[in-house]
């Protein structure tokens, strides 16, 4: 079982049994986010002198609230407050978080966004489907690639013909 956890800020921490230390990471993220919102609000100028709600009014409120909530969460965590992780039909919480799968899935998603301008959705979509099924444990990759290609070409033509939305074709421009 992996005992590390990553939050959107990319920090990695160890989690213990008594206090959910990873939650300090979330609290830290909230404090940083709140602080940044406050800083950004301070850089905004008055729009019109007679405008009752200036552009910085709401940011000050939201930033301060995020900051405060981050501190409150840290206090609650120190007191042993634990989150109730979300359950679901396919979710088995008795196992630890499988970070490797998440990492690989994110890698596939990032590869897709890097390649999509060049190769076009019809190709990257198929690779996205095949790649994610592989990461999720399916080994019938020829079949998955075929399904993926059917989905991506189908959706390309579906959007083009059915909805009138031309998805950029990328390298296949003129072929599709």
């Amino acid at each position: 079982m992996t005992t590390t956890d990553t939050n959107p800020t990319g920090e990695t921490r160890a989690s213990a049994t008594v206090v959910d230390k990873a939650q300090y990471g979330l609290a830290g993220f909230l404090v940083i986010a709140g602080g940044y919102v406050l800083y950004d609000a301070s850089t905004l100028d008055k729009a019109f002198a007679d405008q009752p709600v200036q552009p910085y009014a709401l940011p000050y409120l939201v930033g301060a609230a995020l900051l405060l909530l981050g501190v409150l969460l840290a206090v609650a965590t120190a007191r042993g407050d634990k989150p109730e992780a979300e359950e679901g039909e396919d979710v088995d919480l008795s196992q630890g978080t499988d970070l490797r799968t998440i990492g690989l899935l994110v890698a596939v998603l990032v590869a897709n966004l890097l390649l999509i301008d060049w190769l076009g959705w019809a190709i990257t979509g198929a690779l996205l489907f095949a790649g994610t099924t592989y990461v999720l444990g399916s080994r019938t990759w020829v079949r998955n690639l075929a399904i993926g290609a059917a989905l991506s070409f189908g959706s390309w033509y579906g959007f083009y013909v059915g909805l009138g939305l031309p998805i950029p074709a990328g390298i296949l421009d003129g072929v599709l």
Partner: protein
């Protein structure tokens, strides 16, 4: 009445009937499929709003909303793992029935109960929507601002066990809503020109609902498949009918009002309905072992609450469930501002939708009763392909918003946020409500203060606003009292029974 007939004319055109049918089929499918609910399905389907007509799209979305409820009960009964908190009771009692060989009766009472509740709920909407809309139009910006603040407090405090996490989620959402341009100045854009127009709400919804959920499930994917109880054609004996019809009606009576008020939700009425049926039943000993009343009542409450949700959505533009929030988003993407003016500005749309709800309900009964065994087969879909499919359509949905790889980068970032939220027990609804209503809140506040020339006292200058603030105050007091009481009686019993849980919910 004429308007309603016009509504049926809109809803019964072949094109819109087709969209209603697609909607209920899709809705049932996503309701049955594990890991994908109606809110996620609507988020993934938002791209259709770019070219389909507004009445067709909203009729289809309503079909998905209702269909998701029907499909969800099938999963709960046959799998004993509730997809949403509102089907917890169905999962307990219905699965017990299924295990004792009464799956067919459990599915039948759930489906027919949903139909009864949905139909009564829709008729109530026909009566209430125009009346409430008449009152709501007279509200000024201060009252409207107050109601929005109430909605924020309601979705934050009523749902989920931790208020702190509710508020964290809400303010994260409000923070995301700040990104963009305010009166000519870039706000929270990190100097990035691609953020100048704000983050597309489609990207937020798809990232949080679809990517976040898929990543979360992927990280905890069940290694051994769930045991699915085989089922034949749903049917009920005369005795089952006799035991079901009263719970259906009582469940509807609980569900609709809770759905209709901004603070309601579907969980509390299902628990209330269950407790009531247990008290009134002639077979209280069967409860917890598979009593048909315990499925009939809560399922009706669940669906009636879904119908009730349409009341604040259509009259105030306030969503109270995740699915309603995405429907609001869909309306906005047509440039329609849901709110007090909706019924005045778009009577054809609103009445078309209200008429189509009855049609959707009837279609759902037809496709669910005979086809239940077929739908149950969906539960066997291999998980890698299912979740890969979700990621595929999520990416496609976000990409079609602007055809910009930058949106896909945002999508991944928001997906990771969604993952973290599920890990840390942050509810999703307050965030998405914050994202969608944040700009409207700022607008209403500005409007109110502009009219009063900057005099802040205008905010409590309308009686409705005062009343709403009083309600918010009461909620805060109740929360504080609850917190103090909770501290005085620490360490709840290790094995809380169903009854304790119900009482706890009632007291809240």
């Amino acid at each position: 009445m004429d308007l309603l007939l016009d509504g049926f004319q809109t809803a019964l055109t072949p094109e819109n009937l087709l969209f209603a049918l697609i909607g209920v089929l899709l809705g049932t499918a996503v309701g049955v499929l594990p890991g994908i609910g109606p809110a996620m399905a609507l988020a993934l389907l938002l791209p259709v709003t770019y070219s389909v007509g507004v009445d067709s799209a909203i009729i289809m979305f309503a079909g998905i909303y209702y269909g998701g409820m029907y499909g969800g009960s099938t999963t709960s009964i046959l799998l004993n793992t509730p997809g949403e908190s509102s089907s917890v009771i169905t999962a307990i009692e219905g699965n017990k029935m299924a295990k004792s060989g009464r799956a067919a009766q459990a599915l039948a009472t759930a489906a027919i109960g949903s139909f009864v509740a949905g139909t009564i709920g829709t008729v109530l909407l026909w009566v209430l929507v125009p009346r409430v809309a008449d009152i709501v139009v007279t509200l000024g910006a201060p009252s409207y601002f107050a109601v929005m603040v109430l909605a924020f407090f309601a979705v934050t405090m009523v749902l989920g066990s931790s208020k702190l996490r509710g508020f964290i989620s809400l303010f994260l959402g409000l923070g995301i809503a700040l990104v963009g341009t305010a009166t000519g100045q870039a706000r929270l854009t990190f100097g990035n020109a691609q953020l100048a127009d704000g983050i597309d709400v489609v990207v937020v919804a798809v990232g949080i609902f679809a990517i976040g959920e898929a990543l979360w499930v992927a990280a905890h994917l069940r290694r051994k498949p769930l045991e699915i109880i085989p089922v034949g054609q749903p049917w009920m004996s005369r005795d089952d009918w006799k035991r079901s019809w009263k719970p259906w009606l009582r469940g509807t009576a609980f569900g609709f009002p809770f759905g209709a008020v901004p603070a309601g939700g579907a969980e509390v009425p299902t628990f209330l309905s269950y407790a009531t049926e247990q008290k009134l039943s002639k077979h209280p000993e069967e409860f917890g072992k598979g009593a048909i009343e315990g499925v009939a009542g809560p399922e009706a409450a669940n669906n009636a609450s879904a119908a009730g949700t349409m009341l604040p959505l259509l009259t105030l533009g306030l969503p109270t469930t995740a699915t309603a929030t995405i429907m609001l988003l869909a309306l906005q993407s047509y440039g329609i501002q849901p709110g007090p003016q909706l019924l005045t500005n778009e009577p054809a749309l609103v009445w078309g939708l209200l008429a189509s709800l009855v049609i959707a309900n009837a279609l759902l009964l037809v496709i669910n009763l005979p086809m239940a065994p077929l739908w149950a087969k969906l539960l066997q879909i291999p998980r890698p392909q299912l979740y890969a499919g979700i990621l595929f359509f999520a990416t496609l949905g976000a990409y079609t918003a602007n055809f910009a790889p930058f949106d896909l980068a945002l999508l991944v970032a928001l997906g990771l946020l969604g993952l973290a939220m599920r890990r840390f027990g942050l509810p999703v609804l307050p965030l998405i409500v914050g994202v969608i209503l944040g700009p409207a809140l700022e607008l209403q506040l500005t409007t109110a203060l502009q009219i009063s020339d900057g005099d802040v006292s205008t905010l409590w200058g309308e009686p409705v606003a005062v009343a709403v603030y009083a309600v918010i105050g009461l909620m805060l007091v109740a929360m504080a009292v609850g917190a103090v009481r909770g501290r005085r009686t620490p360490a709840a019993p290790a094995t809380p029974t169903e009854n304790d849980e119900t009482e706890e919910l009632v007291n809240r």
